[in-house]
């Protein structure tokens, strides 16, 4: 990659990071450039890598005339703006909703049913004791968290109330784990930018 491209990226990175000091025109400038470049790139990419090769080529070069229906059906979406022809837009939308509902149903069966089955773990077996503890923990977490989310009646009974409270603590632990991982992830992204500034932009030799 030529150095002037790296230099532009380095200056843009520093420009964006000036927000850490305070809101300023340099940050605003690079923020707008970023949004503009992103939108422009997306538009160019869709035209050259999706519409032309996946639709234009089969229709106009390979003579697959039936691809014209993709334009007609896709175009029907825009009839929502016509009061007289809006029913045609609704037809396409309903078809899309039906398709997505079918896919979601299939996804639920294949993704979540195996996970529900896997959550039924033996708490007594001839395996190592730590596995028993692990399975017991899964069982307790599953039951208590489910009782926390049981809203059909008020949590008056001490057993239900206690279970829901334990469930809330379990949820807090899970949120803590997710938040900790989020911090780790955000740090990794920052480290990547800092490494770019040091080793690509400033050209320091990596150790």
């Amino acid at each position: 990659m030529p150095y002037y491209v790296i230099a532009v990226a380095g200056i843009a990175t520093i420009g964006i990071y000036t927000i850490l000091y305070r809101e300023n025109p340099v940050f605003r400038f690079f923020e707008h450039v970023y949004v503009g470049v992103g939108a422009g790139y997306g538009f160019y990419f869709i035209i050259t890598n999706v519409i032309v090769p996946d639709w234009g080529k089969p229709l106009f070069i390979q003579g697959r005339w039936y691809w014209i229906f993709a334009l007609l059906i896709g175009g029907m979406y825009y009839l929502i703006y016509s009061r007289r022809l809006a029913w045609m837009a609704r037809m396409v939308m309903l078809s899309t909703m039906g398709l997505l509902a079918g896919l979601a149903f299939k996804q639920f069966i294949t993704v979540y049913v195996p996970q529900i089955v896997a959550s039924f773990k033996p708490v007594v077996s001839n395996k190592a004791p730590y596995l028993h503890f692990s399975n017991l923990l899964v069982f307790v977490t599953l039951v208590t968290v489910m009782s926390y989310f049981f809203f059909s009646f008020e949590h008056r009974h001490p057993v239900v109330r206690g279970s829901a409270r334990v469930g809330r603590w379990m949820l807090m632990v899970a949120f803590g784990a997710i938040f900790g991982s989020t911090v780790m992830g955000r740090m990794s992204l920052f480290i990547d930018r800092a490494a770019f500034l040091l080793f690509d932009f400033l050209r320091l030799p990596p150790r």
Binding site: K106, V111, G185, S188, I191, P206
Partner: protein, 278 residues
């Protein structure tokens, strides 16, 4: 600006400055860290080790520049392993458009080390629109859906694609992702055809991946930058994952110290207010 607000602003600046100094210093002077691969990472590594050589591996690169800091080193570690093991693979994007190009840069930079060549050892399918319905169609007719590679060469003329027709010819799919693309692979490939799935995700998504691992839907997980560092240890290469572990650990220590300090200061203020009130 009030005195209290100015103080908060100053504290914020001190924290940012400390983080910058710490990260830059540890990148320039890293300390070698000993990584112990977790069972989830080891499991993915072992699955790839036992894959048949005659089958193609799909690297689903569902990431772009926004998560490059995590997904980039993961992609690099996995490509290192595939090159080293002599597995043919296809780089494929269907969520973010720049993904295949970013992964191609990584493959191009690593290929000379292993004497690998584009077209014979790997292929880049580029980006394909269509989401989940496209994935369903892909399982049944790969050349019919992909048609051309990233350079607009017909997929049937690429040696790495020899004999690849449908899901039967795929040894494994590895989803390297910064978004929720795994569900589609599980729903339309692993759940239907039983194609083994590997998963490399950003740190924020890591904890949510374990139900999939527990249910046997994925063979292993490379979680965030630390996951790529562990994977590099197993492959026996020194990459960005390991090189950046000092900075990652130092930043975590700083944040833990700041959380403790913040809580102590809060307790002190609370005590002072209680005293003043009483």
């Amino acid at each position: 600006m009030t005195g209290e607000r100015a103080g908060a602003e100053r504290t914020r600046h001190i924290i940012f400055a400390a983080l910058w100094v710490l990260i830059l210093a540890t990148l320039i002077w890293p300390v070698p860290t000993r990584m112990k691969p977790s069972p989830a990472v080891r499991s993915l590594h072992n699955t790839i080790e036992t894959l048949p050589r005659n089958k193609l591996v799909i690297l689903s690169v569902s990431w772009d520049v926004g998560t490059r800091g995590e997904n980039g080193p993961q992609t690099s570690a996995l490509i290192n392993h595939l090159f080293k093991g002599g597995h043919r693979f296809a780089i494929f994007g269907w969520v973010f458009q720049p993904g295949p190009m970013l992964a191609e840069q990584i493959a191009d930079s690593l290929a000379p080390r292993y004497g690998k060549h584009y077209g014979t050892d790997w292929v880049n399918w580029g980006f394909k629109a269509g989401g989940s319905p496209m994935l369903q169609a892909l399982a049944k007719d790969i050349p019919g859906v992909i048609v051309e590679d990233l350079n607009h060469t017909s997929i049937t003329r690429i040696p790495a694609m020899a004999g690849v027709k449908d899901w039967h010819d795929i040894g494994m799919v590895i989803d390297i992702t910064g978004t929720s693309s795994l569900d589609s692979w599980v729903a339309f490939w692993q759940g239907v055809y039983g194609v083994p799935l590997g998963y490399a995700c950003t740190g924020v998504m890591g904890p949510e991946s374990f139900p999939y691992l527990d249910a046997g839907q994925i063979k292993g997980v490379v979680n965030g930058l630390v996951g790529s560092a562990e994977y590099e240890v197993l492959v026996g290469v020194s990459g960005q994952g390991q090189q950046r572990m000092t900075s990652q650990s130092a930043a975590h220590v700083l944040i833990i110290v700041l959380i403790i300090a913040g809580n102590l200061l809060m307790l002190r203020d609370r005590k002072r207010r209680a005293k003043a009130g009483g």
